[in-house]
């Protein structure tokens, strides 16, 4: 047998690979029933946990999933993270192997499959590419999603909570149309896993706050205190007793970096107020009176 592939064989090989990828992704997916209308999709995360989209869980009780082999099982809500539109369910006796998450980030142009289980009786899928990588994105309730994947694969009704999978069926993101006006987005695999681990561990995701109001300002050359960045965040209010006040931040400061990352607008700052930084003393740099000042602010946790 020849080890070369003819052009005609190639189409067949690609077709078979994509069907295999859909089958692999679908084997680790359930249908999620948590709203009156269209059921949605969920990814099996561990032996008894299912990751899905927050916005498809419209109630806290009377939740259920349907396994690929057609079993309907009761599910309990473990936790929600509206900022990433992810939610975690616990399902006893799930008996479905977990989904494989990609170890490396998605790339623009990469071929992807959107896979969902909106109907009983088999998965659905659509083909596309990674159209853009973006973030931060201000999502519902003013929360900020650090990163997202945009795709031109069609998210059919009920695909939210399902995988955006690569050509091996590995999860590169968790699909949702609930973040930005119905646009087909996916929460990148690494971020989705971080959120999922937080939800599994404590039922919520730590998101921090400083207790300031601020607005982005241009930094004219000569007023950058020797920095190269052209904008920063002008502090227009410091809440009394807040983490920022305790750290010595005052009205009129221009915040230019936080934990070593440049801060040019409010989204930059929001994206940094997550995870390990919450509850920790974090170095911040402000321009005050034309000179750079170093502060240490212990990030507060939003209740």
């Amino acid at each position: 047998m020849s080890d070369t592939l003819s052009a005609a064989d190639l189409l067949g090989a690609i077709s078979a690979q994509m069907a295999d990828a859909v089958a692999r992704a679908a084997a680790a997916m359930v249908q999620v029933r948590g709203r009156p209308r269209q059921p949605a999709s969920g990814l099996v995360y561990t032996a008894d946990l299912v990751l899905t989209a927050d916005h498809v869980i419209e109630r806290d009780e009377d939740l259920s999933v349907e396994t690929p082999d057609g079993r309907a099982l009761a599910a309990q809500l473990v936790g929600r993270d509206p900022a990433s539109d992810l939610a975690m369910l616990r399902v006893a006796d799930l008996g479905v192997g977990p989904a494989a998450f990609a170890e490396i980030p998605a790339r623009v142009g990469q071929i992807v499959l959107a896979v969902g289980r909106p109907l009983s009786g088999g998965p659905m899928a659509s083909l596309g590419i990674v159209s853009a990588l973006g973030g931060p994105l201000r999502s519902r309730r003013g929360a900020v999603l650090e990163q997202f994947i945009q795709t031109d694969a069609t998210p059919y009704p009920g695909f939210s909570g399902g995988p955006l999978a690569d050509s091996q069926g590995t999860v590169v993101g968790v699909l949702t149309t609930g973040l930005a006006g119905g646009a087909a987005l996916a929460v990148p695999a690494a971020l989705a896993r971080r959120v999922a681990d937080s939800l599994a561990g404590q039922g919520y995701v730590k998101r921090g706050f400083l207790g300031i109001s601020s607005q982005p300002v241009e930094l004219p050359e000569g007023q950058r205190a020797g920095l190269s960045q052209a904008s920063g965040l002008l502090v227009v209010r410091v809440e009394p007793g807040s983490p920022a006040a305790a750290g010595g931040m005052i009205l009129g400061d221009v915040l230019v970096s936080f934990d070593g990352h440049a801060v040019a607008d409010t989204d930059d700052l929001q994206a940094l107020l997550v995870g390990e930084r919450v509850g920790r003393a974090v170095p911040a740099q402000v321009i005050r009176g034309g000179a750079l000042a170093n502060l240490s602010i212990t990030v507060g946790q939003r209740g």
């Binding site: 070369t4 052009a7 190639l10 189409l11 089958a23």
Partner: protein
């Protein structure tokens, strides 16, 4: 062309172009007296064309098919089934190259598919996608359930009646409907084959 001499995407492009070139002569435009444009696919004997019932419904007896090489051939309705949305036309002087039939019962979700037809009257347009879903679909007006192939190939009015082709260049469906602008629905070729087999000999 072999994969060790050309990059995969170059190979893919060439393979898809070969597939399209091979299938296009089997696809015709179906129309009535100067109006109503749909698509059709040359059926097994080369003298008949399979299309959707809704393409020819109401067009009367004066049908014609327009071939890829711009021949206009008179056609007449042999049989039609509004429930399956299928119609079979006899083409006068028909010696057209029939499409090769595949086995639509063996399709899998994710399989590569190509639609060929005449969207908005534009001749010989090929679009690509994958099988998005298989299984029952609730029909409107209380019709009985039937199995359809759903796909993400881009279709537009005028594609109706044209073939859905698999990666082996075989016809596995007749494109029939579009839902919500981005879900295309095709009648499996094995359903068309079964129906055609039950039509009494002409």
């Amino acid at each position: 062309m072999t994969i060790d001499t050309y990059p995969p995407a170059t190979m893919l492009g060439a393979a898809a172009a070969d597939l399209a070139a091979g299938v296009l002569p089997s696809v015709v435009q179906v129309r009535g007296r100067g109006r109503g444009h749909g698509s059709g696919v040359v059926w097994r004997d080369g003298a008949t064309v399979m299309t959707n019932f809704h393409v020819v419904d109401g067009l009367g007896d004066a049908l014609e098919v327009l071939t890829l090489d711009n021949r206009s051939l008179p056609a007449r309705l042999i049989a039609g089934n509004p429930r399956l949305d299928l119609a079979l036309l006899a083409v006068e002087g028909g010696d057209l190259p029939p499409a090769t039939l595949g086995d639509s019962a063996r399709l899998r979700v994710g399989d590569l598919v190509f639609a060929v037809g005449n969207p908005w009257g534009q001749r010989g347009v090929v679009t690509a996608g994958i099988v998005s879903g298989l299984g029952d679909l609730e029909r409107q007006h209380g019709e009985e359930r039937a199995t359809y192939i759903r796909s993400d190939v881009r279709l537009a009015p005028g594609n109706s009646g044209g073939p859905l082709i698999n990666a082996q260049a075989e016809m596995i469906g007749i494109n029939a409907m579009i839902f919500g602008g981005d879900l295309s629905v095709a009648i499996p070729s094995h359903v068309a084959l079964g129906w055609a087999g039950r039509i009494p000999a002409m």
